[in-house]
Symmetry: C2
Subunit: 338 residues, 2 copies
């Protein structure tokens, strides 16, 4: 087996996995947002017909998998491994979805970096010869996240301006060893980075150092700069975190202007939608990639994207125990080949 | 890249990863148990000198990594990827340990199957050419698990006879592309299996069908029977789950007697230690593998082991919402080569 790695953190895939198809599912706020036309399903019922928000999350994932499989003309038996996870305690959104699928399953916890982590591991599985087709999947839900991380919604807690709005949505991607579509060419595995942010309502600032760390390493490992990409997009740093990443690179003399965006900023209209610093949650980068960005690549608007999933590795318990919030970021290079 | 897969669920590693070294850390109950002599560190202080049980879990993992690296004469910079996770909400035991390590990190949630899942993904990384050396790691803690899954200990809740005792411990394994030691030859990725068990105090019965499913598939994919191994060991089914797996195979006309054991039964003395159905938790199979079993292989007492991590994919929320408990099991074949 030949080496598929370069530098300290970056994998370079010799057999480049194809993004065969994707599916994006969203809720009411996403329906009202600027990217609504690129979703496969949008449901204004936040419970998706289920008796609880947690079951709604399972339902969104089921819908995303089913849609992605249909679009690829595949059945669940055609999938060799499914990589997925979510934000719920013990990742029950994903586990309960898998009950009905009979697909070999490897569960992940990468907080809001899960879409990138699942694509990274799925690419390893395919390029290493361990699978013909894999699924990478995740979800988040505004109401289940608020209840779990902050306060039950009925308390009517005030949200500070740095707070972000957890996306209600699920993204699912089918990767194949053969076929046509954009290909995953490289991936940089992130390290846990903690610059001491203790405000659980400021996840953008907590995750920005991890994004900066992984991007810096990605450029170094591959000996490239931001201009190697049409678009570099972080997962869910929001307005504040996006600004911090730009500032950190500016200090290093690296201009990110023009090429750098953030899914948390893209998914909502900050003038008309009251989301404060932007969107967040596993579903945020998942639906922006599996909805808007994938279709932009198919339409050749972007040819080379660096998709950087960002996660804040806190829990309510760690916050109560006065811990700071570590972050992580995994970067996935996706390229349209001729 | 050639195919490293056979049948529906089994990976066959062309470049067999070497289990270079392991480390096992345990607490008071493990110190009093029959496998105590094979631990690297045993601390009767359940808080491991920390102010909380959650921080104790991080401390156990730190100690396990540090010990494993020292035993292998390696530093954290020599490790290309660390795969790990735990049972705590949002896996904070592992994430917070990684803050100090600067190792590329991929977080997992596989409930008590995490040791097997991390070995499986670590083996994929090495055999696929993505890493020279990886770490697979997990932990659990009796007190943090009781507080999170059941009741705070101070409530003095009664435990039914089917209940298991969460192991306080952490196991860490260093896998290498080169070197000497037992090798990982194959691995079977589990599916989520749910036979409808709703008793959150009977995890053995909930996980047994998953173990039966994965073992059956492993035998089928490789066209072998249980006699291909010196020892088949499940993670933490305990007395009841172990019995169920034996019964299910007996119905298929397959005798597991003599070759089949369970880490949850092995780790405690059921006559003198009041653990009811046996041990459980991510730490259970992790310390039995990284302590007792690894050393037995080095001493040639076992030459070919099938290590089957088992996980119950429930959360307190899913139980409150009247859901049944799905299980999962991943199997890892470890072989001593001449």
């Amino acid at each position: 087996m030949s080496v598929q790695r370069t530098g300290r953190q970056t994998l370079v895939f010799q057999h480049r996995p194809v993004l065969l198809t994707t599916a994006a599912v969203g809720g009411k706020k996403e329906l009202e947002g600027p990217l609504h036309q690129w979703f496969d399903h949008l449901n204004p019922d936040t419970k998706f017909g289920q008796p609880s928000w947690e079951k709604a999350e399972t339902q969104m994932q089921s819908l995303a998998v089913q849609t992605a499989l249909e679009k690829a003309h595949l059945q669940s038996k055609d999938i060799d491994i499914l990589f997925g996870g979510d934000l719920l305690n013990q990742c029950i959104g994903t586990s309960f979805c898998l009950r009905d699928l009979s697909i070999p399953f490897l569960g992940l916890y990468g907080a809001c970096s899960t879409m990138a982590e699942s694509l990274l591991l799925g690419s390893m599985a395919i390029s290493g010869g361990f699978a013909q087709r894999v699924i990478a999947m995740t979800s988040s839900h505004f109401a289940s996240a608020e209840r779990q991380y902050r306060f039950p919604l009925v308390y009517g807690g005030q949200r500070p301006p740095t707070a972000q709005w957890t996306v209600t949505g699920s993204g699912c991607a089918v990767l194949g060893r053969e076929g046509s579509g954009p290909r995953i060419t490289a991936a940089t595995i992130g390290r846990v980075v903690d610059w001491g942010i203790k405000d659980a309502n400021n996840m953008g600032a907590a995750m920005a150092p991890a994004a900066y760390d992984t991007l810096t390493q990605h450029f170094k490992d591959l000996n490239i700069g931001p201009d190697a990409y049409d678009l570099i997009v972080t997962g869910d740093l929001g307005q504040l975190g996006w600004q911090i990443v730009g500032d950190l690179f500016a200090k290093d003399g690296i201009a990110m202007d023009g090429v750098y965006q953030d899914c948390g900023i893209m998914i909502y209209d900050q003038k008309t939608q009251d989301v404060h610093a932007g969107g967040s949650g596993c579903g945020c980068s998942a639906v922006v990639l599996c909805g808007y960005l994938y279709r932009q690549m198919l339409e050749h608007r972007y040819r080379k994207i660096l998709f950087c999933g960002t996660g804040a590795l806190l829990s309510p318990t760690s916050t109560q125990q006065k811990e700071s919030t570590p972050g992580i970021c995994h970067a996935i290079a996706i390229e349209l080949e001729d």
